[in-house]
């Protein structure tokens, strides 16, 4: 264990959480990741809603963007995309 854990005086009282889960990357959980063909994407936003991680955000111009730091590779987005523009591919 190289990580230094804080002592009891350093932790906030009441056991309130000091860190956002944003700092905890779950992107290495799965073996696959979604590849989105943005040319065919209709910007319906469903993949954003159906992603169990909330890892797919919608950019300013309306396209989905996958946060690979968090994607667990479940494949729900590919399964549910109405125009089938998402394909699950193996992570390298």
């Amino acid at each position: 264990m190289s990580e230094r854990f804080p002592g009891w005086r350093e932790l906030p009282k009441g056991a309130v959480s000091p860190k956002s889960s944003i700092e905890y990357k779950t992107g290495d959980w799965g073996v696959e990741k979604p590849g989105i063909d943005l040319g065919r994407c209709t910007q319906c936003t469903l993949c954003h809603f159906f992603c169990p991680e909330g890892a797919i955000t919608i950019s300013e111009d309306g396209h989905p963007e996958v946060g690979m730091d968090y994607c667990k590779g479940c494949g729900v987005c590919a399964e549910e995309c109405p125009v089938k523009c998402i394909e699950m591919v193996r992570k390298r």
Partner: protein, 324 residues
Amino acid sequence: MVSGLTLKEAARKPDGIAPGHRLCAGCDETVIARMILKATRGPTIATSATGCLEVATSIFPYTAWNLPWIHSAFENAAATASGIEAAWQAMRKKGKGPLAEYETVDIIAFAGDGGTYDIGLQALSGALERGHDFTYVLLDNEAYMNTGIQRSGGTPFAASTTTSPAGKVIPGKREWKKPIDEIVIAHGIPYVATLSAAWPLDVIRKARKAFEVEGPAFLHAIVPCTRGWRYPQEKTIEISRLAVQTCFFPLYECRFEEGRPVYKLSGPSAAIARRPESKKPVLEYLEMQGRFRHLFRPERRDDLIDSIQAWVDQNWQILLEKVG
């Protein structure tokens, strides 16, 4: 206001639950919870009963909650929410205290089926009877998934769980799913609705209505569980959809108006009511799930499948009669 909420608008609204949580790949719980949180009006405080959502979003020192959130125990989500609501009401009345200035606070209690049908039923009933202004969200994955898939009052008939295993003599759970919505509706609360993540806009609009009504609102979501129901993780939304298309879990709303419950079918279920031939056989729903595998192998149990279909048909018929 409600009708103005489009998917595109909701998609741009920041999520209430951040990524980096540790729910299983393909879990439906945050899917539905995130949709519900998209519908909040402003200041929001949430509480969760002990369960998958609570555990996996709050492993210290990390938290996925982008809004004030508290977990205290398993059986008391409704009681904890009652206290939060009472605190806000008192501060409003006194005109002092940290919540005094908020004209609305969307107070949400999330609980699973164990925390609602079973151990939390008393606290829920008490809070509904007292009429606190809060929204209770039942995330119904039909068993105690957090402790390893034990049967609950919400587990359907014949489902195999670790405490109602499909054995040589007994084919899974012997009891039918408890009619929790009817129990809740009997309290005469202003708003009850059922949800499936397969229809995001329906979820968001119902959640907004739940927040807007004064008094308790109850949202009951069907929440497929890849581990407990045993299906491929990418099928979560498809199973949520099939639950509705087979009328195993119809989508409807119930408002309490002039002293009586007024039922209204929601889009996909209303379409089935208009075109009964579009109702899919429950078989399609059952055969996708490993928890019902013993109904098909080693030998097909038509007797059990037929009784489940009969249960679905009867409840659907009863609901249609209520809708009128």
